[in-house]
């Protein structure tokens, strides 16, 4: 059998392979040279590629992400490491108005091939400003592709795809799934057998992570793994749960979502982002606006509530969309 990799290692393998062969790829971000980025995405790259291609930036996201967009416009393919999605506030204009819209506003004269890697999520007591998911905030922007692998196989394949895409791609990784040791022992379901050769995973397609017939549990990032745990639990009660990994937010696989939910007639969306105005509502709308009669029960969203994320473990654990909550909701729907 092939080796098992963590998501961090798998994504890094893809980036290394592409960077070795294509001079236009370079990495920039805070602490990328010495630390390889906070989540190890460019571990060892400083020594291998040198400071010209692995650029340690000052703390100035509007500045260096804007700079990356310009480098992309002039023929490079920058890969930016932005450790926490909570920080998009300090560079949002580049995402919202420059990187995503320039191709359109120039009617295709100017391309912005740029990969922005961002870490999401909480559950480890990092409080309100360092634990957010903000999936909807980035997926909402027209002109950007947003992908969100939740296992090592997808991490490598989607990284290859992102680096070969001539557009602005946001590549999200939930910190708890990356497999870096100081976030705790990697979750088993994030590890995958990963081929040594390069391969691509297409954007815009869900993954059916587990087959099932009674209910469809839909997750993204960390909540995929919570859905899998819930499914294991439900199996003990004789409930067969299908688990879907969205893994691509923009484009969103509405056809795939609909087909999966049609099969079971019941849907729960588990999304660690805030409840309101989010991906969870978008997924439900994708089914209901197509044909509400496929549902045998009202759809359910299990999300972080619309509150700033609290620090104390007792509070934080209580608000996350964890397996127990998902399983309870599923039992109520199936009864």
């Amino acid at each position: 059998m092939s080796r098992m990799l963590t998501m961090s290692r798998a994504g890094r393998e893809a980036l290394d392979w592409e960077m070795e062969r294509r001079d236009e790829i370079f990495v920039l971000g805070e602490d990328v040279y010495n630390f390889g980025g906070i989540f190890g995405t460019a571990d060892g790259f400083g020594a291998k590629y040198g400071p010209e291609r692995v650029i340690n930036t000052p703390i100035s996201e509007t500045g260096f992400i804007g700079m990356a967009a310009g480098a992309a416009m002039a023929g490079m393919h920058p890969v930016i490491d932005l450790a926490y999605i909570d920080f998009i506030g300090v560079c949002y204009n580049v995402l919202l108005n420059t990187a995503s819209k320039t191709h359109y506003m120039s009617a295709g004269q100017v391309r912005v091939p740029m990969t922005l890697m961002i870490g999401t999520g909480g559950g480890y007591n990092n409080a309100a400003q360092h634990s957010q998911c903000l999936h909807a905030t980035v997926a909402h922007i027209p002109g950007v592709k947003v992908v969100y692998p939740s296992n090592a196989y997808d991490a490598k394949g989607m990284m290859h795809s992102a680096l070969r895409d001539p557009n602005f791609v946001i590549y999200l990784t939930h910190k708890g799934t990356a497999g870096v040791g100081w976030m705790g022992t990697p979750i088993k379901t994030t590890l995958s057998e990963v081929p040594e050769e390069p391969y691509t995973v297409p954007f815009g397609k869900i993954a059916i992570t587990r087959e099932g017939s009674d209910i469809t549990l839909i997750g993204l990032g960390m909540s995929v793994h919570e859905c899998l745990k819930a499914a294991d639990d439900l199996a003990k009660d004789g409930i067969s749960a299908q688990v879907i990994d969205l893994r691509s937010l923009a484009p969103l696989d509405r056809d795939g979502i609909f087909a999966a939910v049609k099969k079971t007639g019941r849907m729960i969306v588990a999304d660690e982002d805030y409840l309101s105005y989010g991906v969870s509502g978008e997924v439900i709308a994708s089914v209901v606006e197509r044909d509400p009669t496929v549902l045998r029960a009202a759809p359910v969203r299990i999300c972080t509530p619309d509150i700033p994320i609290p620090f104390a473990r007792s509070m934080e654990q209580a608000i996350l969309p964890l397996a127990a909550k998902i399983a309870d909701a599923a039992r109520k729907m199936v009864k």
Partner: protein, 77 residues
């Protein structure tokens, strides 16, 4: 049979201990000499453990258990 021990020079400080973050192959898997088989965490740094020989991996120590330099963590048969 080859012992897989945490190399004595894997990290510098003698007073620090580590733990296995993850085994990249399951117990009983065939591994090749030189392959990366585990990640070891010492404080915030992730270090790498390579297979000293080819053969079948037999894991002795699970993740999240404190380990020391020189400790036996697996064998390769």
């Amino acid at each position: 049979m080859t012992e897989v021990r945490v190399p004595l020079d894997l990290w510098a400080e003698d007073d620090k201990t580590g733990s296995i973050v993850v085994w990249l192959y399951p117990d009983g898997a065939i591994v090749k000499e030189g392959a990366l088989i585990a990640e070891i965490l010492v404080e915030k740094t992730t270090l790498e453990l390579y297979a000293p020989a080819s053969g079948t991996l037999k894991i002795n120590v699970e993740p999240e258990v404190v380990i020391d330099k020189g400790q036996l963590v697996a064998t390769i048969i």
